[in-house]
Symmetry: C2
Amino acid sequence: MFHTRPLVVEKSAIEPCSACAARPYSVCSAIDDKDLSRLAALAQIITPAAGRSFIEEGDPAEHFFNITGGTAKLFKLLPDGRRQITGFAGVGHFLGLAVSTTYAFGAEAIEPMRVCRFSRPRLRSLLEDFPALERRLLEVASNELVMAQEQMLLLGRKTARERVASFLIARADGQTPRPAYCTHVSRPSAVWLPMTRSDIADYLGLTIETVSRTFTRLRSERLIETPSPSEVVIRDHAGLERLATGME
Amino acid sequence: MFHTRPLVVEKSAIEPCSACAARPYSVCSAIDDKDLSRLAALAQIITPAAGRSFIEEGDPAEHFFNITGGTAKLFKLLPDGRRQITGFAGVGHFLGLAVSTTYAFGAEAIEPMRVCRFSRPRLRSLLEDFPALERRLLEVASNELVMAQEQMLLLGRKTARERVASFLIARADGQTPRPAYCTHVSRPSAVWLPMTRSDIADYLGLTIETVSRTFTRLRSERLIETPSPSEVVIRDHAGLERLATGME
DNA sequence: GCGCGGCGTTGACGCAAATCAAGGGTCCGG
DNA sequence: CCGGACCCTTGATTTGCGTCAACGCCGCGC
């Protein structure tokens, strides 16, 4: 495992928010250029290595986080070690909204990350001054809620094949925002999977073995190809989508 | 089933928000007395009968809803009829947050209801004038998100017994906010279940039969009593809680 | 180069929950 | 008072996925 040592690397003033590549995707886009310096003054940048935890479920919630690079898995645990990954958070993702005083989930980097960190009380005062930021956060939270409901449908009612198909479709749609006019076109598209089979299993409520077997079966049915374990090519997007939505 | 006829019954001006019993529990508590008349002017009250749908998944999202009486089930469907209930919404609950232009879920009354309805564009303008309302909504959404994550853990990783136990504990804790000093006390507490076994099954990702059998088993283990199908008495709260959290 | 630990795949087997089936209770309309 | 539509419960049987086990691959430290 990984040792616990301080993660703070730099004050963001060194690399101000104005040059932040993640800004257009993140909640920070709600802040005007002229006010960015105030935001920058509040932020610390941490760069967790792959495999490194940076939020522990149950710890006092002292910070908000804004991901500007890499990907994390968010998860909840049962006392005996069973794990449910509730989501993967990439660039632009905002973490730590909960009103509670402790974190409701843990977070661990699955790729080297770059994360902006804000102390909660300070961000609260910022929220008072920038209603637009609050509006943006509400938007984000609403979207997450919709995705959470979709995931509940998956976990409660879909078969293993449907779960894996849904996962791949969601990944494909999320990472390649393709123009509307070719939405239905069934052409191969590559999907990158930075997480392990174990992570996918814990996200889909399955076991490693079932995930692996399902990939194998989808491959034998010519729905996908797997050039490498972390790379999937969707050969029949429409077919996979029908499968994902339980239409066959 | 039920016919589709208009549900609107009265303008809320007839029974103004100031007298609303649900106000302290709902987002409306963020609005001052002096501004309530403006809120009241925007609201329509509908009273769906038990079994009546009042939100259809996929329909254009024209309204926000605020529940002031009764209980609804919220659900998502697969094309072949499989159903996942994503939550039960009672007094004070706010529905329709999604930024999308269509509803992401359906809603149906399980008891006779009383619901305040606001048109979306109008409420948007209201939000601009009352930042406190926006803050309150963000709070609500954050809480829902935490609960959704908890439910994902349940659906993805808990056994049937653990799911039913979790459900009962959540119901017991939610409906009877008991003083802190008797939190751990193992004394019987009654839980009212307005929903059918089928609803419980669809909420927990199980079948009716499994839910029924699990109740029977918990009863034979003296953890609960079931005076009637819609009434459960928790005899061993601590034991049920251990079971719910996977500790045995 | 070699041993080792983590990851992914595959096969054999077992089990928890789904499915299939039957019966009893309650409510309601005719 | 009776028939039918729901509910809920219980039993018998099936099955999808989990569990257990073995093995190959790859990267890494020594």
